[in-house]
């Protein structure tokens, strides 16, 4: 039997200031990027067709074609068209902005423009997405609703299963993960589409899951030795005891996500990337954010168990 990290005695809580500094500066950098994008590109997030409305046509050419040729053909009819190379060498994404409640007609016009310019059969349309402004707005509202609802529901569940102190600390850690993940999405201008919402919500689930496993152990250790042991020491011990599980679970989950990222195809790639970032953050935050947050909460609003103990040092000071 070989146990990695078994019997580890790392002083995780001792590193909390460094962790605050890291999280704080990462958030600050994210905020700066978000502001820069907000002012230079008009929106801090790179919303895709799903949320903004508009038309996306994915086209695969048989022969060598470049972006300039395509732009020359399409720009006259659709000023503001955005063309990017995608995946394989002669595959392109053509995006036109939204132009009203209904879809704009670009979905039919772009293929006919391309046929006129490059000839019949010289390309295949791989994918078309056309979303009117109305549907885009609706999808945006529903995505926000999904994120808020899942947050509220898990909070209620945690309040029910744990003490409120634990629930609050878990929510702080999860909020931290969401903010930093959003900062990542914003900073690298990853396209925000429907699967992005799914990725962010899965991160919420995973981050909570990871925090809960550690909190579960903290709760158990408090029951066993809460009156004898320092709270910080209980936190450290609980994190150390669950460390092998944390490492192994992160390893297997990351292994599947990395294969998704590498081999899952273009559609899944951004999704997998966001999940990888979120899961690394979720693991980090359960150790370095959730536990210190629990400690701060416990100090400010001590539970029944602590009231007895906090009385002692004051008595000592008086002597």
């Amino acid at each position: 039997m070989r146990r990695l990290f078994a019997g580890a005695h790392y002083d995780f809580l001792g590193w909390r200031r460094r962790a605050y500094l890291f999280s704080g500066s990462a958030l600050a950098v994210g905020l700066v990027f978000a502001l820069v994008w907000q002012f230079t590109r008009g929106s801090w997030l790179n919303y895709g067709v799903d949320f903004l409305g508009g038309t996306l046509v994915q086209v695969q050419f048989a022969k060598d074609t470049d972006v300039t040729q395509l732009r020359d053909a399409i720009n006259p009819a659709f000023p503001g068209v955005e063309i990017t190379r995608f995946g394989q060498s002669n595959e392109f994404l053509i995006r036109t902005p939204v132009s009203g409640e209904a879809t704009s007609g670009a979905a039919e016009q772009i293929p006919s423009i391309l046929t006129a310019r490059f000839g019949e059969g010289s390309f295949t349309i791989e994918q078309v997405e056309a979303v009117g402004a109305k549907v885009g707005g609706e999808l945006q509202a529903r995505a926000m609703l999904a994120i808020l609802l899942s947050f509220a529901a898990t909070l209620i569940y945690l309040a029910f299963r744990f003490e409120w102190r634990f629930g609050l600390a878990a929510v702080i850690a999860t909020a931290h993960d969401i903010f930093l993940t959003m900062a990542f999405i914003s900073g690298f201008r990853l396209e925000v589409a429907l699967p992005t919402v799914a990725a962010v919500l899965t991160i919420v689930g995973y981050s909570l899951n990871d925090t809960i496993v550690i909190f579960d152990r903290i709760r158990e250790n408090i029951k066993i030795s809460g009156r004898r042991e320092e709270f910080t020491s209980i936190l450290n011990r609980s994190i150390n005891e669950t460390l092998p599980r944390t490492i192994l679970t992160v390893a297997t989950t990351l292994a599947t996500l990395i294969t998704l990222f590498l081999f899952g195809g273009e559609i899944i790639r951004d999704f997998a990337l966001i999940m990888i970032v979120g899961i690394v953050l979720g693991t980090y935050s359960s150790i370095f954010v959730a536990a210190p947050a629990l400690r701060i909460i416990e100090e400010r609003w001590p539970g029944e168990r602590k009231k007895v103990r906090t009385a002692r040092p004051t008595a000592k000071a008086a002597v």
Binding site: M1, P111, V128, A146, D216, T256
Partner: protein, 541 residues
């Protein structure tokens, strides 16, 4: 009975049998064990709403129109012959149409979204329109800001002048050219005084006017100005022809002066077939009216010999024949040189019935079959690689216990796929991602248990006690973590749309199956394993 090893094995076998049964029965029924989403098999998804930009319909009228249109769309897709179309009402004001395996998207879209509202209207005499024109001119002049009328003319004049200058500099100025340029500017000047009537020509046929093709957009703009149409005599209207006709080098579009009330509509249509008119080498759709329609038609035509009757389809005039004699229940729509396919599509939508209110497409998503096939093969590769990696980590780290976990996970895969088949869920690309992800998370439950067993062993417990305690102590963490993820997945399912829903379904089934696999199947495997050992004999974990 579920406590004994035999009972446990029986439960697991029954569940496996149900899963495999669901997969096999789906395979027999649909030719595939799992239904693939449009993103994997290719196809088109459309969301349509009633076209009502001014919001003039009451919610009830809108809901009625949606219900009627739903039926019409079902008829149309049935006639079009799409395999397994999905036509569904979403909320009270939206229709979703999913057409798997469609290759000609434009054609399918035309068939779905075409109103196919067919009307027969009497053509009104030209002389009643003549006095209206000058009044329209005056109104257009006051309604339209002056500079936008003159601006266009001045631009042309300026270019003419520049051209003349350039030509004189190069010594090539020829008089005919400048004459025609002068004539042009004279025409432009006139057009500012008579904005509309200078663009409309008499065709010589009753109730029909001609507009040069390049002026059509401008005339449409003028006619759309507020109040212009109100100047028409009561119960009359102007309608454009469906296509332009050539006269010499110039293309003209006809504008018809019609009675606004149709004397008969497509509701009275009994049949419609596409065909060719060999005499004029034209594509046509011939139709037959029902008995009542035939009677009305006979009545009207007998009273209107030598008048014209316009056949109006979706507000465009397709033809306007002169009534030579009384006509019965049959007739035809001329389609000129249009391909036969277009004619049969038109016949199809006429047979299936008109939409009660026009629809507009608010969302379209379509995926070509090759992209879908790519997604499947990439998903398969990623899935296999992921599974191999997980197996490797588990077996290397947990030895024989790892082997048991891997065996349990392979049953888990069957259970998830069977669950998807039993629920008739659709597998989408995000769904594959959700499945691979839930696989990673299913391992977590095993890891929690194994780590706990190892801790108990390290604390010096006997093998059997360590296993029992390990399962017992890991339980609360497993329940909590699975439930929170399940909550998020269910909310995603409730609030999400399309691809997100597919993800939520596989994730939910995955979590439930993972819970069962870890706490029941792995436990059973351990019980079998321990039964063959003495209580104190060490285990491979």
């Amino acid at each position: 009975m579920f406590g004994t090893i035999k009972g446990r094995i029986a439960v697991i076998l029954v569940l496996l049998a149900v899963s495999v049964g669901a997969l096999v029965s789906n395979n027999v029924r649909d030719g595939a064990p799992l239904k693939l989403g449009l993103d994997l098999q290719g196809g088109m998804h459309l969301a349509l709403e009633i076209d009502d930009p001014q919001n003039t319909l009451t919610p009830e009228a809108r809901a009625d129109a949606i219900d009627q249109n739903l039926q019409v769309l079902r008829n149309r897709t049935d006639e079009f012959g799409v395999a397994e179309p999905l036509i569904q009402k979403v909320g009270n004001d939206r229709i979703i149409v999913e057409l798997p395996g469609i290759t000609d998207e434009d054609r399918a879209k035309g068939i779905i979204s075409r109103s196919a509202f067919l009307e027969w209207k009497l053509v009104h005499p030209t002389q009643e329109f003549r006095p209206v024109l000058p009044r329209m001119d005056r109104l257009i002049e006051t309604e339209l800001p002056k500079d936008s009328l003159v601006g266009a003319a001045e631009d042309t004049a300026a270019t003419n002048l520049q051209q003349q200058l350039r030509e004189s500099v190069f010594g090539r100025a020829d008089s005919t050219r400048s004459d025609s340029a002068a004539a042009d500017s004279a025409k432009e000047a006139e057009s500012t005084r008579k904005p509309l009537s200078s663009l409309i020509f008499d065709s010589g046929q009753e109730g029909e006017f001609l507009v040069q093709e390049q002026d059509v957009e401008r005339v449409k703009r003028y006619l759309a100005l507020p109040g212009v149409m109100d100047l028409l005599p009561r119960n009359t209207e102007l309608r454009w022809a469906n296509e332009a006709v050539g006269q010499g080098a110039q293309l003209y579009r006809s504008l018809y002066f019609l009675e606004s009330r149709p004397f008969i509509t497509g509701e009275r249509l009994r049949e419609a077939t596409a065909g060719r008119d060999p005499q004029f080498n034209k594509t046509v759709v011939t139709f037959g009216l029902d008995r009542r329609g035939g009677r009305i038609f006979e009545d009207v035509t007998s009273q209107h010999i030598n008048d014209r009757i316009a056949i109006v389809l979706d507000t465009l005039v397709h033809s306007a024949p002169v009534v030579i004699s009384r006509i019965g229940a049959n007739g035809q729509i001329d389609m000129g040189q249009a391909p036969m396919e277009e004619a049969s599509d038109l016949a199809l939508v006429l047979r299936a019935g008109a939409l009660s209110k026009p629809l507009t497409i608010v969302e379209q998503r379509s995926v070509g079959p090759s992209l879908g096939a790519d997604s499947i093969s990439q998903g398969r590769i990623a899935g296999i690689m992921g599974i191999v990696l997980v197996i490797g980590i588990m077996v290397v780290y947990y030895r024989f216990a790892g082997v048991m976990a891997v065996f349990a996970l392979s049953l888990y895969v069957v259970l998830v796929l069977g669950g998807l088949a039993a629920l008739d869920a659709t597998l989408t690309a995000p769904g594959i991602a959700g499945f691979i992800l839930s696989l990673g998370m299913a391992v977590d439950a095993n890891v929690l248990i194994f780590e706990r067993i190892r801790e108990e062993l390290a604390a010096g417990r006997s093998t059997r006690a360590a296993v029992d305690e390990g399962f017992r102590n890991a339980m609360s963490a497993i329940v909590d973590s699975n439930l929170t993820t399940l909550i998020t997945a269910l909310i995603l399912f409730q609030v999400g749309t399309g691809p997100v829903r597919g993800f939520a379904v596989t994730l939910s089934i995955g979590i439930i199956a993972s819970f069962f696999t870890a706490v029941y199947i792995t436990r059973t495997l351990f019980l079998i394993y321990l039964e063959r050992k003495r209580p104190t004999e060490p285990i491979s974990i």
